[in-house]
């Protein structure tokens, strides 16, 4: 058996393994934000991530935060924005298949969020555009161990589909700070928030990983994220997609 496989499969390995993940990578962001422009903006983003993975005999908890920064450009005109974004997801995956099978299936609920801030320097007085989504949904994953290039690996795919989302978008073109209250609290902004089911606030997140076992039950992973959302709520719809390739180092914290 491989050194890092499921705890229940290997005598002597604790039944619960806690790993800290730290990663860096790059992403490609594509979006059309009608509050800002009718044009499609795209660009490469730097990416960094941090997460915790708790793997037990029956459940797999995965909490992951990804941060993006970079520029996007409208190909037609060369307009440029500066972007900051984060993606956070927490999933509670329960094992569906026996521990001794090759294909390990998991499913469970997931809480995820997406937030981004874009700065468009050409739009005087309303340069900032933002969106924030917090979603509750279902997630499922499949993983299997394999021997590839005479090394031990584990490959997996996790798909998350939020069912109900809370979304915050400006209801007017990028006019940030138009309605601050006296104490500068976020309350005026939060009043613009909407709750929508899949179809109004739609989001899908896919996570592919190929993990290589390191000594002492540590891991090195290549992770490919694909996240897409679309909001038809409010005056200005947005369609957005982010792809990111990330190299993760997982350090086992538990004994």
């Amino acid at each position: 058996m491989f050194a890092w496989t499921s705890a229940a499969q290997e005598p002597g390995v604790p039944k619960r393994a806690v790993r800290l993940q730290i990663g860096v990578g790059a992403g490609w962001e594509t979006y059309r934000d009608l509050a800002m422009s009718p044009l499609l903006y795209e660009g490469i983003q730097g990416a960094a991530g941090i997460g915790i993975e708790v793997e037990g005999a029956r459940v797999l908890h995965r909490m992951e935060g990804l941060f993006f920064f970079g520029n996007t450009t409208a190909q037609r005109i060369g307009g440029t924005t500066e972007n900051l974004a984060f993606m956070f997801s927490g999933s509670h995956l329960r094992r569906l298949s026996p521990v001794d099978t090759k294909w390990q299936w998991h499913a469970g609920p997931a809480l995820s969020s997406w937030g981004s801030l874009r700065y468009h320097r050409s739009l005087v007085n309303s340069n900032y555009f933002y969106d924030l989504f917090i979603s509750l949904g279902a997630t499922g994953s499949v993983e299997r161990e394999l021997r590839f290039l005479r090394r031990n690996w584990r490959a997996g795919w996790q798909l998350s589909v939020p069912v109900l989302s809370w979304g915050l978008r400006p209801s007017y073109s990028g006019l940030v700070a138009a309605t601050p209250d006296e104490e500068e609290t976020p309350a005026p902004y939060l009043e613009e928030a909407r709750v929508g089911a899949f179809g109004v606030l739609t989001r899908v997140n896919s996570r592919l990983h190929l993990t290589y076992a390191l000594p002492h039950a540590n891991h090195l992973s290549l992770v490919y994220h694909w996240d897409m959302f679309r909001s038809d709520a409010g005056r200005h719809p947005i369609s957005h997609a982010m792809q990111a390739l990330q190299l993760n180092l997982s350090v086992k914290l538990s004994r």
Binding site: S126, A155, S173, L175
Partner: protein
């Protein structure tokens, strides 16, 4: 089998990346008619002063749309769009291209200038003025004089506190914001806070938040609040002219709520609709007013704030090296 799994994963990733564009609509057409229509529609749904200015935007469309067709050249298109936007009579409405910017500056060009920087420097400042950041100040007899030329130039709280401390023993202060075209609203708030005696309602505003003519947010109340260790609450006169625009009008609106403050000179230029902007399909950007602002008595200040003491600069005074408006303010405060 293992290779197939790796291959499957790679194909899955490739599928996402290659099919992603299918989720996005194509960019809108970039032709003269499409760009004209996009501009008209953006303003139609977002502009906040149609009712206040009694503008029939549909009629405007019927006048200017026939001037655009598929063969309209870039410069012609810009001119037609500019002419259409000009009907809004709004200094916060601009069409920005790589080669020119449309504008309507009649709000000050059609009125007396009422400000002469050269006269001010030679006859009143005389080289004795302090430059504390963008704040220019001096003492004329027993009256403090503060000149702030642009709310786009930031000053710090400590810089402002220094000016207030310098004025603290004086009988009164003149704040000269003539030809101050605006800038950061936060600077207006900060400056006003040092002259407030207590918290008072200054103005309310509503935000255009939907495509309908009457789609506005609930009114938001803005208050002028005393801040800082030292404040000046003795008589103050603010000098204004028609080029006192945008953030300057907001500043004057705040100060007009104070009982020890009087406004002197000409109406401010207005510009009390906070502008927003967006791009057109060809990359040009448009900026337009998206809010309305009202004094506590309901007066819409888009057209400016009237002075308490209406006075123009006199050419005969100017010839004698006198600023009529400043002279009157000094006389009122002495």
């Amino acid at each position: 089998m293992k290779n197939k799994i790796i291959l499957f994963g790679a194909l899955l990733a490739l599928t996402f990346s290659s099919c992603e564009k299918l989720l996005f609509d194509a960019d809108p057409a970039d032709d003269p008619v499409s760009n004209f229509d996009a501009l008209w529609k953006e303003v139609d749904e977002g502009y906040s002063f149609f009712a206040y200015k009694n503008i029939n935007w549909d009629s405007v469309y019927s006048v200017y749309r026939p001037r655009v067709n598929a063969n309209t050249k870039t410069l012609e298109l810009f001119n037609v769009m500019s002419d259409m936007l000009y009907t809004l009579q709004d200094g916060h409405v601009n069409l920005e291209t790589g080669f020119n910017r449309s504008r309507n500056w009649e709000w000050y060009l059609a009125h007396p200038d009422n400000f002469d920087a050269n006269l001010l420097e030679r006859s009143y400042l005389k080289g004795e003025q302090w430059y504390t950041g963008p704040l220019i100040h001096t003492i004329i007899d027993t009256i403090g004089y503060l000149r702030y030329g642009s709310f786009a130039q930031r000053f710090s709280e400590s810089q402002l506190d220094l000016v207030i401390a310098r004025f603290s023993s004086l009988k009164g202060v003149v704040i000269d914001v003539r030809s101050n075209g605006g800038g950061f609203g936060s600077m207006a708030d900060l400056l006003a806070s040092r002259f407030a005696d207590r918290e008072r309602t200054a103005y309310t505003f509503v935000v255009k938040n939907g495509p309908g003519r009457n789609d506005f947010s609930d009114p938001v109340e803005v208050k002028i609040k005393p801040e800082g260790e030292r404040r000046f609450t003795k008589p103050v006169i603010i000098l204004t002219n028609r080029r006192s625009y945008s953030a300057t009008t907001f500043f004057v609106a705040q100060m007009s709520a104070l009982p020890h403050v009087r406004i002197m000179g000409d109406w401010t230029g207005g510009g009390a609709g906070t502008p927003v902007g967006t791009e057109l399909p060809n990359g040009w950007t448009v900026r337009y007013s998206s809010t309305q602002t009202f004094l506590p008595d309901g007066f819409n200040i888009e057209g400016g704030i009237p002075p308490d003491i209406r006075i123009d600069m006199n050419e005969a005074d100017r010839q004698q090296g006198k600023d009529t408006i400043l002279e009157r303010a000094l006389a009122e405060l002495r």
